[in-house]
Subunit: 194 residues, 2 copies
């Protein structure tokens, strides 16, 4: 299993970090044997919406070579969805087994055409922005429609990581990771159309 | 209000990112007018425990000049608490109004002597490591003992940010930030000794 975690200028850092700090833990379970992940972007460094700069591990890799591509959100998505260079790179993920977003990352999935005919969600403040890209906006925290799994705002990032752990490695693995990250809450608001 | 967010090699990224992505929102309320924050460390770049590299905004500033110093945890804390250079730098925060940690960041506060005579908490897997540094380990998520506020493991980082928002800006501000980060959960397990 090979995971690409996409970063870009103007990302909301927690959109990324919640999923990042949960999903790598998949590697400790049989279902995640040989897990690899890479932080990917279109340039060597990116700066989040508050000014924090992070180094990118892989610049513009072929995204079709991953099993899961994760796209966080942030104010940067508003401009980025109109950036041909970024969107055509992201389109490489089209055939990937799991395309996952949190918050307004779904606007980028939409701009890449991944949400055509799909149900999806985003940050509650961006439901209207998402509408033109998808079949139906479901106003809930996690929407799993075939190969595309979209999440709600910012903090949903942790729940999305946990949802993927449960999906890929089962309930016992979920409980183990919840203990490791000291998370007492239950995943809420999951809508599934498989 | 001036906030220092401390980073170091081997940090757990979510320990940092949860607090970071909540506390800057204090700036939108009257109580946070003029809010400034800086990402601080002892060198130009640090790498988290999974290999992600982040640029440090301020290298070795005088920590006594901040109103709040935040210290996350991670496997790197085990070695760092014995690093004289880092710990003597951290000691500069001794007189700061709020010294805040999440997860095993409390081991670093302990090594700096900030927990002497204080109640404190940490990641549940590190209660024993914390004991020698403090008066009493309280096995809960947030322990607020005078100027020192320590938190439980990893995901507690978001709750700690929200706790500080409520403390500094009130209940209405808390509800506003919870909506902004799409957080449906209630802060649990707070122990206060003022």
């Amino acid at each position: 299993m090979k995971i690409a975690l996409v970063l870009f200028d103007g990302v909301t850092f927690l959109d990324f970090a919640g999923f990042y700090d949960v999903i790598y833990r998949l590697g400790q379970f049989p279902a995640g044997r040989g897990l690899e992940w890479e932080v990917c972007g279109t340039k060597e460094q990116v700066t989040d919406e508050m000014g924090l700069t992070v180094c990118i591990g892989r610049v513009k890799p072929d995204l079709s070579r991953y099993d899961l591509v994760f796209v966080p959100g942030g104010m940067g998505t508003r401009k980025l969805r109109c950036n041909d260079d970024f969107i055509s790179w992201l389109r490489g993920a089209e055939t990937v087994r799991y395309i996952v977003s949190v918050c307004t990352g779904s606007l980028l999935l939409g701009a890449a055409g991944f949400l055509a005919g799909h149900s999806a969600t985003t940050h509650p403040s961006a439901y209207e922005l998402l509408e033109p890209y998808c079949n139906e906006v479901v106003q809930t925290r996690i929407v799993h429609d075939r190969n595309v799994i979209t999440g709600g705002g910012v903090s949903t990032s942790i729940d999305m990581g946990l949802y993927m752990i449960r999906l890929l490695a089962g309930e016992e693995a979920l409980q183990t990771v919840k203990r490791q990250i000291d998370y007492p809450y239950e995943i809420q608001g999951v809508y599934v159309n498989r």
